[in-house]
């Protein structure tokens, strides 16, 4: 079966900087795939090449089996996209923006009308459909933007930081819509800084650092692969000093609200050590819990080159 997105040796150079270095991956149809990486890692350059905004120096991208470099128009017809800087036209109304994008994808007048009404209703913008987008809040503009990206029911939907800087309501509306699109069969590719969002949404994540893939796996499998980065989270009654716990098996200690997080490769030894110190210092333990590595822990380790 043809993959939704097939990327082989994708490379992009800006002068002396190798922004994307022979990146290859395959995304199955119906998958939610996340691209993660620190700022400047090459995520946006990668997604710009996947969406035909930027031409790669080398390598190939197939969208539903169509070569994006050789047949860009046909390949782009298969995809919807919310670029990183992907504003909609502020001098047009929400409805006019949707109509314009529908025309690009060759939808008939009836299809443009019915899809626009449907999307405006789903996104809670029915009563503002004829207002200029320049009068909208950032969250409302982003909702129009996502509506524009899916008006033609694309087979593959690319989202570059779709919920960045949005309020909780707009974020939830967009996440729900992305899940709905996926349930209807669309493949979703998203970049995000929000690791928890990627963790909740994505079936697989690809972590990019310095233009190269450092890991590509399901979040749960990644966690299992890096079980050495575990933690013990403890709440004390009263103040404690982090220096009390500087013993073997605890690699890092950090305060997380009213709790302390002890990173360790051996939770059993760490707990024994923490309890012993607490007894010596007469610090009362209120709660104690062992935690597997979060996706964020793995992300930090991988992008620091610590593993």
């Amino acid at each position: 079966m043809t993959s939704a997105v097939d990327v082989v040796n994708l490379t992009k150079r800006f002068g002396k900087l190798l922004a994307v270095d022979r990146v290859s991956f395959e995304i199955e149809k119906g998958e939610i795939f996340g691209l993660l990486g620190p700022n400047g890692a090459g995520k946006t350059t990668t997604i710009r090449m996947l969406t035909g905004i930027m031409e790669p120096d080398a390598g190939s991208v197939l969208i539903e089996g169509i070569d994006l470099v050789k047949h860009p128009l046909e390949a782009k017809m298969k995809m919807g996209c919310i670029p990183e800087v992907g504003n909609v036209y502020q001098d047009l109304s929400a409805r006019e923006n949707l109509d314009l994008v529908g025309r690009f994808y060759g939808l008939s007048k009836r299809e443009r009308g019915s899809r626009s009404e449907e999307l405006l209703a789903v996104l809670g913008l029915s009563d503002r459909g004829d207002d200029y987008v320049r009068t909208f809040s950032k969250g409302m503009r982003q909702r129009v933007s996502i509506a524009c990206a899916i008006i033609h029911r694309p087979a593959v939907l690319f989202l570059d930081e779709p919920t960045e800087g949005l309020d909780v309501h707009s974020r939830r509306v967009i996440i729900d819509l992305v899940k709905k699109m996926n349930a209807q069969g669309s493949t979703i590719v998203l970049t995000t800084h929000n690791i928890e969002e990627a963790n909740r949404l994505c079936e697989r994540v690809c972590i990019i650092n310095k233009g190269r893939i450092v890991a590509i796996e399901a979040p749960e499998k990644l966690r299992r692969a890096y079980e050495s980065i575990q933690a013990v989270e403890v709440a004390f009654d009263g103040n404690v000093d982090a220096s009390w716990f500087a013993f073997g098996h605890v690699s890092n200690i950090e305060a997380c609200g009213d709790k302390w997080r002890f990173c360790t490769d051996d939770p059993d030894e760490a707990i024994k050590g923490i309890v012993k110190v607490a007894e010596e210092k007469k610090a009362k333990i209120i709660s104690i819990a062992t935690m597997g590595p979060s996706l964020e822990d793995i992300f930090v380790k991988l992008t620091e080159g610590g593993i």
Binding site: I53, H71, L73, V85, Y89, Q90, D91, V101, F104, F158
Partner: protein
Amino acid sequence: MNFPLFLRGVLVVARKDMRIYYRKAPVYIFGLLLPAFLFVAFFVGRQLDISVYFPGFLAMTLFFTSSSIGPLIVPWEKQAGTFERLLSMPVSLTTIILGDILAGALFGLLISTLIAVFGIVFLGLSVTNVFLLATLFVLGNACFAALGELLSSTGGRTPSNVMMLSSLIRFPLIFISGIFVPLSGMSGGVAVIAYLSPLTYLVDGLNASMGQVSVFVWMVDVLILLLSTVLFVFATKKVLRRNLMKGL
């Protein structure tokens, strides 16, 4: 290439430009008011024959109006953050360029037709070769809309800066192209410089179509305008491709 898809992209881009940029103030200031003021400043208070200078005025208006949309679009879209989204649509760079040129040319065609009709109806001026006039209107508007697009492809994302650059290029052209000084009266180095300007051939062709003195055979005027259009389109594609990501 999928031609229907390509053609649809060109028309939708042009439609988008017409909906958005025909309403922008710089288009009216640089495209309409400026040539009108220039002509009034030149003509009023002097005993000049309007029929002699009208083709030049028509050419100047056509030149300014058709080249006023192009410099605005790309920098405006880069600044507003809509350019990246446009690139992700089923369009190619050529689609965007031709769509923008079409929008600029149609604006110029509308205004220059209105000016020509005004001259014929109210000033009693005559057109001796309607076919040539129509051909020059189409080619001239396409040519200078392409010049406008070329100016916008330089990579800036501030519309006012690009408009300033475009004025810097456009103003000298109107003074060396036979609008205020008839081509037949030019000689030596001035004439050589005039022959380098594509606007010269529009002025000359319009003179021929309206029964005034022309220097070249009209086919030369048409051919030079056609070649200039092709040159501007290819140059725009090359420059815009190089500056595509600037300002995004």
